[in-house]
């Protein structure tokens, strides 16, 4: 009868996943310990931890609950970052308070609770609702907006984790934090040298983050913050970021630059930090570690104590933090200077939508108008043009200027190669406008009839037919009152 271990091997199968040799940094690869006895001694001890800290250019911080490695880097104002300087970035972040407030109004920085929307991977386990329900705006009055707090308080957070799935078994092994001053961007990274030190890491991060103001992340509302909160909950330690305002730059960035991502030639509508830094500042990373490889590099470090494969991971994390600052700075600049600063029609449209969301309708309208002009000049994208006109019309209606709104609808209805759905919407809006506002029943009927020609379906068709009947009834009444003699219209 086979031994228990042999039977278990048959069931478990597989061997330790190893990094391919070419991914290893220069120098001979250290053999990986597979035997339990060897592995026991391979746990990172004091000297090994000091060596790792040295390799990574950091230091060991010993605390009561364990030890961690911290790595500090400073990016000086005079340093270049692609086409811009670090100084440009920090000055923008520190100066444009009004723009920050506007951004905050567009996406209220509700502080994160336990896994608000769940981690991305959690959708595998917990089927998610349609997107719109998750991204619904939920202004939360309990938490002050950033402008009501210390104005320059702002720090950036980015985690590297042992997986994307979320849940109790996914850990943040690297917590990257950055803060800005006139001198530049200062990054502090907290590295977990072994799982048993997690409490110490969480405590250090909590101390560092205290009183620093609002958190800025990229997709942090659904990933980084719920994940690190889970770690605190796991250790049953209060979450130090509870109630701290949180600006997730993913959403503004999507508004402003997703469309441009597609025009970038990359083919897909990517809105990753890598795409954005290339787009906004011409930054090209060299030898960047691909995201999917990051967990296995950490697992290898945990197994053999060799920190060299982690160097690239830490560098990746630092660049992400600087790029996050860049993205925010660029967004604030746009918001501050208005549509004139937009480099193309899409950025302008995105800016208009951002203003729209923040409720600054005047700025929004101006930006929509400018976006429509720019789009019409190029004339290549009826979808975007139609979308801009539609939003312009709604924006004007919300400011109570229905006649100007109707002008936008009319422009949309007349737009060459206008998408059918948008054209139907325009006709419907025009029919309503002429029936109820302009009291021009003939025009209302014309729009209603043309809407039916466009073959709407379902509820929209029923409504259109109903509307047409009602308009004709009204017209009949008006005529019978006027002349008792129906006359045929052209």
């Amino acid at each position: 009868m086979a031994s228990l271990t042999d039977r278990l091997r048959g069931i478990v199968g597989g061997a330790v996943p190893r990094l391919s040799p070419e991914l290893m940094p220069p120098g001979e690869a250290t053999p990986v310990a597979t035997d339990t006895a060897v592995a026991r001694s391979a746990s990172l001890r004091e000297p090994a931890m000091a060596r790792a800290a040295e390799v990574l250019g950091g230091q060991v911080v010993a605390a009561r609950t364990g030890a961690i490695i911290t790595v500090d880097r400073h990016y000086a104002s005079s340093d270049r970052y692609g086409r811009v300087t670090i100084g440009d970035i920090v000055d923008t972040l520190l100066d444009l308070h009004d723009a920050r407030a506007l951004l905050a109004r567009a996406w209220p920085p509700s502080a994160s609770g336990p896994g608000r929307a769940g981690c991305p991977g959690a959708s595998v386990v917990e089927p998610t609702l349609p997107r719109d329900r998750q991204s619904r705006r939920e202004p939360d009055s309990r938490f002050p907006t950033p402008d009501s707090r210390e104005p320059s308080g702002l720090w950036f957070l980015d985690l590297e984790t042992t997986g994307l799935a979320g849940g109790a078994g996914t850990q943040a092994f690297l917590v990257g934090c950055a803060c800005v001053s006139r001198d530049g961007v200062s990054v502090r990274q907290f590295l977990l040298p072994g799982y048993e030190h997690e409490r110490a890491l969480l405590a250090e991060v909590g101390d560092w983050a205290a009183e620093r103001g609002a958190i800025v992340t990229f997709n942090g509302k659904s990933f980084d913050v719920p994940l690190i909160e889970t770690r605190y909950l796991f250790h049953r330690v209060p979450f130090p970021l509870e109630g701290v305002p949180h600006v997730d730059m993913l959403h503004p960035a999507r508004r402003l630059w997703r469309a441009r991502g597609t025009l970038d030639g990359s083919g897909e509508a990517s809105c990753s930090l890598g795409t954005l830094e290339r787009l906004l500042a011409g930054v090209h990373r060299v030898g960047d570690v691909p995201g999917f490889e990051i967990p296995s590099r950490y697992f290898q470090f945990v197994r053999d104590g060799d920190a060299r494969p982690l160097e690239a991971v830490l560098e990746h994390n630092r660049l992400d933090l600087v790029s996050l600052a860049l993205v925010m700075a660029r967004a604030l600049t746009l918001v501050d200077r208005g549509p004139g600063a937009a480099r193309d029609a899409y950025e302008c449209l995105g800016l208009a939508r951002l203003y729209d969301r923040a409720g600054t309708l005047e700025e929004a309208e101006a930006a929509y108008v400018r976006a429509v002009e720019m789009l019409l000049r190029v004339g290549r994208d009826p979808e975007a043009t139609g979308e801009a006109l539609r939003r312009l019309a709604y924006c004007r209606r919300r400011s109570g200027r229905t006649h100007e709104a109707a002008a936008a609808w009319q422009q949309l209805a007349d737009l060459p190669r206008c998408p059918a759905g948008l054209r139907r919407e325009a006709r419907e809006a025009l029919a309503i406008f002429h029936e109820h506002r302009a009291h021009d029943l003939a025009a209302a009927r014309a729009h209603a009839e043309r809407l039916l020609v466009e073959q709407p379906s379902g509820r929209r068709r029923d409504e259109a037919e109903h509307r047409l009947r009602r308009i004709e009834r009204k017209m009949g009444r008006a005529r019978s009152l006027a002349s008792l003699w129906p006359e045929r219209e052209p």
Binding site: M1, V12, G113
Partner: protein, 843 residues
């Protein structure tokens, strides 16, 4: 007031009418006195038993019950408790775990709702987790709990949060549920993959968890139960982390070992509450054996046709009927038949519905509602409706074929009958050996204990998967124990595969350190509690706009959805045009044809390791490798059951390692038989057929739990000088789950009894050359199968075994002993269709 009394009067009148109709139908089916007739094993109706009505026995509400709860119960008309509810409450108050086994509709749910609501009212921090085997049952329960909770808050009590948490729970409701719900109703699968792995988010629940309620405990046997036991081990680990130690409250249908099962699942001591204080209406239980239609060949009328006739008698009198079939295929066939009989106008509301695993949830909810509201007059179902899904109380329960276990039979019979009203249950036997035994020995069923439910939580395949999940949830310490295996050794092997890592260990201290999960994967996703593989196949109808019409689990897919298979959904026929095995999809198109298909499979077993053998080297127990493959299919004509064609298939094979009992026929024994090679082989096959059926009765297990494979030793029989043990003919009875689930070891222990009873079965059968009741139908096993099988047994047993005791049937001859030989007209496909499972627990 007047309106109410007139409603009462009309209800009474309906009741009277129903009773008259029921009596009428019973008179047609079983003429003669309605009650307490002597059994007539040779007749068509072999038994009519009257189960008398039982009055209620009450107990006062326990002292100290929260006054708000008392008030709410009083507002709902409850002024006292049934005795079993009071007993349950007393045990819980004393801190014991309990398992309640009272019949359907006995107010079982109050047994757990009472202590839970009382505790929540007294301390609002209290939390309870309810587990149901299906989402539908959780929904049913929530409706009931919501009513009580609503009454409590109406009466000025506090709000009690009651929520279901499953795959359908909206994302934005989840956070609230995690922190606010006092009672969370979920299922083991969700606990396994959605709650435990995210326990930090559930900290509030786990810190305050006082009760874990497990309803329908009997559903957790075999593989599913073994998984649940491991999920509960993980639950207890997480509770320890948060400092809680919940009490378990379980409810179960009648099985032989409810407390033992609960103890195996929860690994805690349990007290049993089994004496019901609830009233019960009178019930008639009728056993029907389809009549012999061809006396010379001993062919019986098809049990499906007979079930159709029986159901017709009740449906015609406008009684509401549930008809249980043994397989998904039989369900569809019977649905087709009854629709033919009772649905005349297309487009009218459907009076007859089918119901089985694989139907989409929306369709199921619609059928359940139709049953409760009475538009649906008859439902044909697999065991999917055996559990307590709320379909109201029907008038009659009919079983087409013996459900395989005593417990399942009572459970199905219980779907008919209200507390005060008269109801009926009818079992129509097929010609399978077990059916024939039970139908001719009614006291085996009526007077014997029901089956044991077995689980094997330490099955290595299952356990290893859950150790992974557990390590993901909380690191294992270097001294932690888990189950009955050495978990440290398991973790060592997981470390070799890079899945865990021992960190913080002092090299000089073996007890230091913790095993941490070191993989990006989310291990719970890779483990399905319900079947071997978590994959399922969807069935896409391409007749019009492509749409998904059903789904099926991985194991059934190959036999139900192979190319050219006829796939039936509620009587509508579809032909499979393409099976996309990689994409897990089957494309079907609606067809109009007069046949259905059954798959033919081929199984080969190889011995890997022998754990034990008896002195004569006949009986063995060990580890085997099983390869099975669907190799072809037959086309069977509806109604006549003629075989009208066949086809070959080339499909991927299914492999597993499992444990097995096997019987090896010694070379000299075989050589001594004065028969031709083919006849010897037939004899071995016939013996195997009989042994499998006896094994099933001895183990009291489901026919799916044990697989049969025969290696007839074709190469060996020709040469008598072959060394013993080398490719000798063998009969394998193996655990039909990777790693084994605990049936083969007891079988090895019962080897002598198994052979003795098999011998009595074959000897006692009055057929001449074999029939489905002993060694299998002549057409399939050959003319000398019976004779050779008996000679084989004589050699293997010697003469000592001839006096084997009868199988619990104190009043009659042995299994298959008396009665006419019965060969049915070819309907018995259920055992030959490997993947056509009697059904899953619907999910």
């Amino acid at each position: 007031m007047a309106a109410q009394s007139s409603a009462q009067v009309s209800a009474l009148r309906t009741q009277e009418k129903k009773e008259v109709a029921l009596q009428g139908a019973l008179q047609v089916l079983a003429p003669g006195p309605a009650a307490d007739r002597p059994d007539t094993p040779d007749g068509v109706v072999t038994a009519v038993r009257r189960l008398p009505a039982t009055p209620a026995s009450f107990a006062p509400f326990p002292e100290g019950l929260d006054p708000r709860l008392l008030k709410a119960l009083a507002a709902r008309g409850a002024t006292e408790l049934y005795t079993h509810q009071a007993a349950a409450f007393a045990h819980i108050a004393a801190g014991r775990n309990i398992v309640v086994t009272t019949p359907t509709a006995s107010g079982k749910t109050l047994c757990y709702n009472l202590p839970v609501l009382d505790a929540v009212l007294k301390n609002p921090a209290t939390r309870a987790l309810y587990l149901f085997p299906t989402k539908a049952l959780a929904q049913d329960q929530m409706a009931e709990l919501h009513e009580i909770a609503g009454t409590i808050s109406d009466e000025g009590g506090d709000e009690i949060g009651v929520h279901t948490y499953d795959g359908d729970t909206p994302q934005d409701a989840r956070r609230t549920i995690r922190t606010r719900a006092h009672v969370v109703l979920s299922n083991p699968d969700m606990l396994h993959s959605g709650i435990l792995p995210h326990h930090p988010k559930w900290a509030k629940l786990f810190e305050n968890l006082r009760f874990v309620v497990i309803d329908e405990l009997h559903a957790y046997r075999g593989v599913f139960g073994s998984h649940l036991a491991n999920v509960l081990r993980r639950l207890r680990r997480v509770c320890r982390h948060y400092g809680s130690d919940p009490q378990f409250i379980c409810s179960s249908a009648t099985i032989a070992n409810p407390a033992e099962l609960a103890e195996r699942l929860a690994e805690r001591p349990f007290a049993l509450v089994e004496k019901s204080g609830a009233p019960r209406g009178e019930k008639f239980f009728v056993f029907v054996n389809p009549p012999v239609v061809n006396r010379e060949l001993g062919i019986r009328r098809s049990y499906l046709n007979e079930s159709r006739r029986v159901a017709g008698e009740f449906l015609r009198r406008n009684l509401q009927v549930i008809l249980f079939a043994q397989s998904r295929l039989a369900t569809e066939i019977l649905t087709t038949y009854l629709k033919d009989d009772f649905e005349d106008v297309p487009g009218m509301p459907e009076k007859i519905r089918g119901y089985r695993g694989g139907y989409l949830p929306l369709r199921r909810r619609e059928i359940e509602k139709g049953l409760r509201e009475g538009q649906v007059r008859g439902v044909v179902s697999t065991n999917a409706l055996e559990l307590g899904i709320d379909i109201g109380a029907l008038d009659v329960s009919i079983m087409a074929g013996y459900p395989g276990t005593i417990a399942a039979t009572w459970q199905r019979a219980g779907r008919a009958g209200r507390r005060a009203a008269r109801s009926a249950a009818v079992m129509v036997a097929s010609s399978a050996p077990i059916d024939q035994f039970v139908v001719r020995h009614p006291s085996y069923f009526f007077d014997a204990s029901p089956e044991h439910a077995l689980v094997n939580p330490d099955n290595l395949n299952i356990l290893v998967n859950h150790v992974k999940c557990a390590a993901f949830e909380l690191p294992f310490t270097a001294v932690e124990e888990y189950g009955r295996v050495n978990v440290q050794e398991v973790l060592g092997v997981l470390q070799e595969a890079g899945l865990v890592h021992l960190s913080g260990a002092d090299p000089d201290d073996e007890t230091s350190g913790q095993w941490h999960w070191t993989s990006e994967s989310y291990p719970a996703d890779a483990v399905s509690l319900r079947s071997v593989s978590s994959d399922n196949f969807v069935v896409v109808d391409q007749t019009g706009e492509p749409k998904v019409i059903a789904e099926t689990d991985f194991t059934s897919a190959l036999s139900m959805l192979h190319p050219k298979a006829i796939y039936i959904v509620e009587g509508r026929l579809f032909q499979v045009e393409k099976l996309d095995f990689e994409g897990r999809k089957a494309y079907v198109r609606s067809v109009d044809c007069d046949y259905y298909t059954t798959a033919i499979d081929y199984t080969k077993v190889t011995i890997l390791d022998t754990f034990a053998r008896d002195a004569a080297a006949v009986a063995h127990h060990g580890e085997v490798h099983v390869v099975s493959r669907v190799v072809g299919f037959k086309k069977i004509k509806f109604h006549t059951n003629e075989n009208v064609g066949s086809g070959e298939l080339d499909l991927p094979e299914h492999q597993m390692h499992t444990t097995s009992y096997w019987l090896e026929v010694p070379g000299p024994v075989l050589a001594a038989l004065p028969y031709a090679v083919d006849d010897r082989r037939d004899g071995i096959r016939g013996l195997a057929y009989a042994m499998k059926n006896v094994a099933q009765l001895l183990l009291m297990c489901d026919q799916r739990d044990v697989g049969l494979s025969v290696n007839a030793g074709d190469e060996v029989v020709a040469g008598p000088a072959v060394a013993p043990g080398q490719d000798a003919p063998r009969i394998f009875l193996y655990d039909a789950y990777p790693g084994g689930i605990g049936f083969s070891a007891p079988l090895y222990g019962m080897h002598d009894e198994l052979l003795a009873r098999t011998r009595v079965l074959i000897e006692g059968c009055e057929c001449e050359n074999g029939c489905p009741t002993c060694v299998g139908p002549v057409g399939e096993t050959g003319p000398l199968a019976k004779t050779v099988a008996l000679r084989l047994l004589q050699h293997v047993i010697g003469d000592a075994g001839a006096e084997a005791p009868a199988l619990r049937a104190a009043d009659g001859p042995m299994l298959g002993g008396a009665g006419a030989p019965s060969l049915e007209s070819g309907t018995e496909r259920r055992d030959s269709t490997p993947g056509d499972t009697p059904d899953d627990v619907p999910f």
